[in-house]
Amino acid sequence: MGGPEIERLIELLGKLPGLGPRSARRAALGLLRQPQARLLPLANAMEQAARTVRTCARCGNLDSRDPCTVCSDPNRDQGLICVVEGVGDLWALERAGVHRGLYHVLGGTLSPLGGIGPEDLNLSPLLARLEAGGVREVILALGATVEGATTQHWLSERLAPSGATISRVGQGVPMGGALDVLDDGTLAAALMARRAS
């Protein structure tokens, strides 16, 4: 079509989440039409990110610093750790701006089918942080799936000896959600997790 370089670019773009061969071609064309304004800055940014971004040894976040920006922020509540499944969840919570404590990225949930067992989860650094003291609460913010709930129960048991309060995020009716359009599972979970107002 346009030489092996373009084919290679399309092939690599097509492997990104959310992009197929068709959208990869459109993206490649958009980049190639403005190489100075789009393609080269993108290539530089990608190269720089590949060179500098690493996994934070304390919490598992991705950052160019280790410890990451979140872990090294003295204004954050050091006694509050929110456990999430992946970095995407951490970013979502940061976007919402509702958590002012620290994080811990577990790197998955227990999944027999996915071949993820307790030994595959990033748990040791969390246990070490709890052992070091100063943590008063651990918030388990894992998905509302069978695997997520199984992992929450397992983690609660593992973290209980630390003495920190173990809490979990609520489940139920989403913001702006009308009850009559919610699925039965969400409604059941919302009713079971009800609280006195």
């Binding site: 989440p17 959310g18 799936t145 069978v146 709930a149 397992w154 699925d183 599972g185 969400t186 079971m192």
Partner: protein, 253 residues
């Protein structure tokens, strides 16, 4: 080629970005897999949770194809159980065992009916699930083994030939053995928990552990061993959880 039937979701494996390959169990058609387009989407993800009872529709151009699955939720067992540790472990275990032990597309209506009853017990009353859920699961596992052709023979003692008073099971033949018949071999036999023979007995953590070891032995050796597969991790975790329970204590919430 098409069918519609009530089905239990056994598992859902991610496929691509937005789809899942779901494994469901029906009474008429047995265990079936199918591609669910958008199965991992926000709208559908809660439906394809293990243990949910759905009204499923499978269709394909040819019967030997993977086919497509669609469903509507009938009973959200997973959502009802998630907050409770022991019932959730039981749900994960029974779904993982059915997922791995049942042959594809071979009807096992008694296994399906038993699993529906078990999941209903687990999801409708958390207290009752804590009290009698483990025994119900062990009885269902024994029924599953029987349906697959590996059933326990508890009609009479394999040594003395006398009926009743069975206390052990031979790990080799699966036949019951009385305390008298066991003699010096009792350490090599699997203890038979009383609730297996007595329908009204709900047992205790100690006898639950014996029951799980009993059915676990035959599941591992016959149902999963025949496929060169280990027992599912969820089943092993359940056993660990029960064995860690205090003998005279209450089941943890």
């Amino acid at each position: 080629m098409e069918w519609e039937a009530p089905a239990l979701v056994l598992s859902a494996t991610p496929y691509g970005e937005n789809a899942v390959v779901a494994h469901v169990l029906t009474a008429e058609h047995g265990a079936y897999r199918g591609l669910v387009r958008g199965g991992a989407s926000r709208k559908q993800a809660s439906l394809w949770q293990a243990g949910n009872l759905v009204s499923a529709r499978w269709f394909a151009r040819l019967p030997e194809q993977l086919g497509n699955l669609g469903a509507e939720l009938v009973h959200p067992s997973a959502a009802r159980i998630m907050l409770h540790r022991l019932p959730l472990a039981l749900l994960s275990s029974c779904c993982a065992v059915a997922d791995g032990a049942l042959p594809e597309r071979e009807p096992h209506p008694r296994v399906f009916d038993g699993l529906v009853k078990l999941l209903t017990l687990l999801s409708l009353d958390a207290e009752e699930a804590q009290r009698s859920g483990v025994v119900a699961l062990i009885r269902w596992e024994a029924a599953l083994l029987a349906d697959l052709g590996y059933g326990l023979d508890l009609t009479s003692c394999a040594v003395t030939g006398e009926a009743g008073e069975l206390s052990f099971v031979s790990p080799r033949s699966g036949r019951g053995v009385s305390a008298v018949g066991a003699g010096t071999w009792r350490d090599r036999l699997l203890p038979l928990p009383p609730f297996i023979m007595n329908a009204g007995d709900v047992g205790n953590p100690s006898t639950w552990s014996q029951g799980l070891r009993l059915t676990g032995h035959f599941l591992a050796r016959d149902a999963f061993g025949a496929r060169h597969q280990p027992l599912p991790a969820a089943r092993s975790r359940l056993q660990d959880m029960i064995e860690a329970m205090p003998v005279a204590g209450e089941a943890p919430g």
